[in-house]
Amino acid sequence: MSAPVHHLDPATVLAYAAGALPTAFAIVAAIHLEVCGPCRTALRAAEGVGAHLLGQLGGAPLTAGARSALRQRLVDEPIRGPDARAQALASRGPDMLPPPLQPFFGARYSRLRWSWLAPGIRYLDARPDSQARLLLLQVAIGHAVPAHRHGGHELTMVLRGAYEDVLGRFGPGDVADLDSGTEHRPLAVSRQCCIWAAALDAPLQWQDAAGPEMARHLPH
């Protein structure tokens, strides 16, 4: 995967750093951060700001036994060598979904059980919580999601293939971090189907007749 060229909104990075993003958004942000050095650097800066602000607060005491319980557990807990996680990530096969998506959709692209949405478009739907939904979309070359705006915040990241819209070309690792004002019509342009993950906190606002027709097939 070449380096992403479309990045998280700095306001989204701040909210992720604070732990304040709804789960669906935090998941899409996390899978971008995994592949994007510049956004990780921004995240570290935001975390530094957060840690600093928290340092200015007093603490909230823990319950009476907490300290001795923790002290006791140190005895049994070895200090580990370098984390195996980085190697695990590097050795992830091309058929594996990013780990944060796996609990919702399964581990492998080849085993995804897509639902039909419109000609050339299939989807999977998850509801991590009441605040936002998490979708996977698969769009075949030459097909587009009908033109829409967002009632709220949309965060998407391309996992495979590429699409184009008014904002440019989006390939693997690229995110579109969109406010309600943006109207777009993502058109799949890669030979391989374009697959992307999308977090949405409000219904889409369709701009032509094809949208509502397609949306009839989406569960509410």
């Binding site: 700095p10 530094g48 909230a60 984390d83 406010d179 906190d201």
Partner: protein, 186 residues
């Protein structure tokens, strides 16, 4: 009184597994992490469990702490925040009834390793100065984000501001803080 050199103390923990040094770190940071998690809206007992988990992760992962890349407070904050995100996510995936729901090591997990690229990070004096220099509204929005973990939408409705203005103010604030960080590190 001079504050302890937390990085040096953590280095000693990594080298010698000195539990007493670690407990000094615990005594200072655990209540602060607790306050942070309560501010995020995590229920009391759960917040305390997350603090204990975060401190255990820090103990086990002591060798991954690199004082050239982050302060100890930032590192501990990140561990607690990641554990919080994972715990919320696990609750969300419980409905999906798979093995990830049962506390396996999944997800973003606790990113003990630090970013491979060099990071600009400054001493707290530089950061304090940058935060103090923010316009009042920007400073307030940043504080609400971190100390009350308010979503952009919540901030917008509480302050009667358009959502777009909240986001653009936060963007400007973050850009100023990052510039302040770079200046201070130079």
């Amino acid at each position: 009184m001079e504050p302890p050199d937390w990085s040096a103390l953590m280095g000693r923990v990594a080298r010698t597994r000195d539990a007493d040094s670690f407990m000094r770190i615990y005594d200072h940071f655990a209540p602060r992490l607790h306050r942070y998690l309560l501010g995020l809206g995590v229920p009391g007992a759960r917040a305390e469990d997350l603090v204990q988990d975060a401190m255990l992760h820090a103990w086990r992962g002591a060798r991954q702490f690199d004082p050239r890349r982050a302060t100890l407070s930032t590192w501990l904050f990140r561990i607690a925040r990641n554990l919080h995100i994972d715990s919320v996510r696990r609750a969300a995936t419980a409905a999906y009834g798979d093995e990830f729901a049962n506390g396996g090591e999944d997800g973003t997990a606790v990113d003990l390793a630090q970013a491979p690229s060099p990071e600009a990070y400054a001493d707290h004096v530089g950061l304090s100065r940058a935060i103090d220099a923010l316009p009042a509204l920007q400073a307030r929005l940043v504080r609400m984000s971190f100390l009350e973990a308010r979503s952009h939408g919540e901030i917008a409705s509480e302050l009667h501001m358009p959502l777009g203005s909240v986001k653009s103010s936060l963007r400007r604030a973050f850009a100023r803080l990052q510039n302040g960080l770079t200046d201070a590190a130079a």
